[in-house]
């Protein structure tokens, strides 16, 4: 299991558009990816659930990845939060 914290660098937070990109990205991997903000933990395969946690710019979230290809998935997610998100 890999767990990592990120700060949301997009001022608008994870709204519909970045959530779509994130879901499509994680679909490429077999690992189960979850997202946690505060006490709320959701599976990252549902846009509705991602939007429900309401991650805003500046919030800290935790990504939890578990599965056979977790290392690769973690790398892709790393790239998303550090590089891609602020462009969306």
């Amino acid at each position: 299991m890999i767990s990592k914290n990120y700060i949301i660098t997009a001022p608008e937070g994870i709204h519909a558009r970045p959530a779509t990109t994130l879901i499509r990205l994680t679909k490429k991997y077999k690992s189960v990816v979850s997202l946690k903000k505060g006490e709320n933990l959701v599976r990252l395969n549902s846009m509705l659930n991602i939007l429900t946690i309401g991650a805003k710019g500046g919030d800290t979230i935790t990504v939890i990845i578990e599965g056979e290809d977790e290392a690769h998935a973690a790398q892709a997610i790393d790239n998303f939060f550090i590089e891609e998100l602020k462009k969306l």
């Binding site: 700060i7 660098t9 001022p11 608008e12 937070g13 709204h15 519909a16 558009r17 959530a19 779509t20 879901i23 499509r24 599976r43 395969n45 549902s46 846009m47 509705l48 659930n49 939007l51 429900t52 309401g54 805003k56 710019g57 500046g58 919030d59 800290t60 550090i82 602020k86």
Partner: protein, 580 residues
């Protein structure tokens, strides 16, 4: 001339969601809302039947969205494609499916009722979010819900066709997917019964530069197709079938507004100088790379104040050097080589940080804040300075220290800056060796010593908000004494004037980044004092620029001379208003 129907006109007020005035003819869209029937399924085969219906409806909806997405005639832009892709994700969302199936299976609801309930639940959750981007998700969820329901009922929605030009859309709301399929070139305004300033429809109207009045309530139901409509998106008023006189008045207003708007936009490329040729620099106050981009659109020549606090807020610990470096270099990149004045962290007082345990103080504004914290917590300061220096590799950064009140503080800050540079040299990291260093003039003691400070820094930036509060001993957050907070008080003006005079005498640049810089009433006065750099929020730039290009330095000197001879702010304000 359009024929005006023999109808009594009426006026509706709503939320002024997107500014401007439009006069056109109504295109009324009424939707048949699908309501839940409340019937219960009787047996397992009905349950299976409803599940099948739901799945088919979802598939049909996905196909519809795909068809829109692939329709080349619509010439969709990236944003629109993104909306449609998000809709496909929502339609196929596992949580949506799980919840709907649960309602059918366990609660014996039919597919229509189940979809209505599940969609309503999510819409409520999103609506309750205070953030505008999040609450806009409610519209997307409602949108896909209606699509599934439409498909379940086999209703064909083709209400949005055959517009004439000069159409004003009258609807309950405009859904994101409708916004994509409507031919916006024919639409000149919206008026809707629901929605507010931050709703997705407001965002849409603003992005298309269309006037809009939202949240008008049920009165819009009285509007009929072809009615003559005036939408005043600045005031938040919709006038239906106006009289001859009203129509004339508004036609004139509309022309005036459009001309004014065009004029301000045309100013963007105009060089900013007074009518007698004194060059003035207008910059923006920013907090992020996004702000930087936005301000360039308004004609800003760089950032006169880059507040670094945003990165330090809403988090659990101090950002690392690397993280700060990323944040600053993004701004450096977006500024297109134009100067960016980075202010080192200005926390404490009115801007506390959750994770940084600042003890409660009797007088936070007179206490442990801004440069005082930086000088005390050298570790934090060096980290920030190194990150700023590394981002200065693009050679367009300037460093500014906030709240300097004595020469010792400035010298100590410069010494620590030198140490940060030394560390970078050792690590062989690139940075601007000659990065200009300046200070805020926002404490009266600094303003009074401007002649001394001018010899030790490369530039001043006058922060009028704090300067006013400290000079007049007025807490600007205290409602009871808010009238005493007055930047036109001659004492404040004298400090500003002296600071500018000394900067010019010692040949260092001087700017202003406080609220006074964006106050049109103060523009000529400040020009007359010799201020050559104004920094303000991006949206204020065009109107201030307009004032500058239409005034001469000579006249401004005269205004300044008269004002500085006055002994109270009432006379000063009256004079400035009279001679605007």
């Amino acid at each position: 001339m359009k024929k005006i129907k023999e109808k009594t006109g009426f006026e509706i007020s709503g939320v002024a969601a997107s500014p401007g005035i439009a006069i056109g003819s109504a295109y009324v869209v009424r939707k048949n809302e699908i309501i839940s029937s409340g019937t219960k399924l009787k047996n397992e085969s009905e349950v299976l039947n409803e599940i099948e219906k739901f799945k088919k409806a979802v598939q049909a909806s996905v196909d519809d969205v795909e068809a829109v997405k692939n329709n080349e005639a619509l010439k969709l832009n990236d944003d629109e494609v993104n909306v449609l892709e998000a809709h496909i994700e929502l339609l196929t969302d596992p949580q949506l499916h799980e919840d709907v199936l649960q309602k059918i299976n366990a609660d014996k609801k039919n597919a229509v009722d189940a979809v209505i309930e599940v969609v309503d639940k999510f819409v409520e959750v999103f609506k309750s979010m205070s953030d505008e981007y999040m609450s806009a998700s409610a519209a997307d969820v409602k949108d896909i819900g209606n699509r599934i329901l439409g498909s379940l009922n086999h209703s064909i929605d083709n209400g949005w066709q055959n517009f004439q030009s000069n159409t004003i859309i009258i609807a309950e709301d405009i859904s994101p997917s409708e916004a994509i399929t409507i031919d916006m070139t024919l639409v000149i305004a919206f008026a809707t019964s629901v929605g507010g300033k931050t709703s997705h429809t407001a965002i849409l109207a603003k992005s298309k530069n269309l006037p809009a009045v939202l949240g008008c309530g049920n009165t819009v139901d009285k509007i009929e197709n072809g009615d003559v409509i005036i939408v005043d998106g600045t005031k938040g008023v919709v006038i239906v079938n106006p009289g001859e006189k009203c129509l004339e008045e508004y036609s004139a207003k509309m022309r005036e507004y459009q001309q004014g708007n065009e004029f301000l936009r045309s100013l963007k490329s105009v060089s900013c100088q007074t009518s007698d040729g004194v060059k003035i620099t207008l910059r923006a106050n920013i907090s992020s790379a996004e702000d930087m981009l936005e301000s360039l659109k308004h004609g800003a020549e760089g950032a006169g104040l880059f507040r670094t606090e945003l990165l330090f807020m809403n988090r659990n610990s101090f950002p690392s050097e690397e993280e700060q470096f990323q944040f600053y270099s993004k701004v450096a990149l977006k500024s297109k080589g134009k100067p960016v004045i980075v202010r080192t962290i200005d926390i404490g007082g009115d801007k506390p940080l959750g994770y940084f345990n600042l003890p409660k103080e009797e007088n936070p504004f007179l206490g442990y804040r801004a440069i005082r914290i930086s000088l005390d917590r050298k570790d934090l300061f060096v980290t920030q300075l190194k990150a700023i220096l590394r981002a200065s590799a693009m050679r367009n950064f300037r460093i500014m220290f906030p709240m300097i009140s004595s020469l010792q503080e400035l010298r100590l800050a410069r010494k620590i800056l030198e140490e940060a540079k030394q560390e970078l040299r050792k690590a062989n990291l690139d940075f601007d060796e000659n990065i200009p260093v300046g200070m805020m003039i926002e404490v009266p003691s600094a303003a009074l010593m401007a002649d001394i400070f001018a010899k030790e820094v490369d530039f001043f930036s006058i922060g009028t908000n704090d300067l006013c509060q400290y000079t007049l001993a007025v807490d600007r957050g205290n409602e009871k004494i808010k009238d005493l907070y007055d930047p036109y008080n001659p004492a404040v003006l004298r400090l500003i004037s002296y600071t500018i005079e000394q900067a010019n005498k010692y040949n260092i640049s001087v700017g202003m980044c406080g609220e006074l810089a964006s106050d049109p009433m103060a523009t000529r006065l400040l020009l007359g004092m010799g201020l050559t750099e104004f920094s303000m929020s991006a949206t204020s730039i065009p109107s201030i620029k307009n004032l500058i290009v239409n005034n001469s330095y000579e006249e401004a000197r005269e205004v300044c001379g008269k004002v500085m001879a006055m002994d109270n702010s009432k006379s000063i304000i009256d004079y400035l208003k009279r001679n605007a």
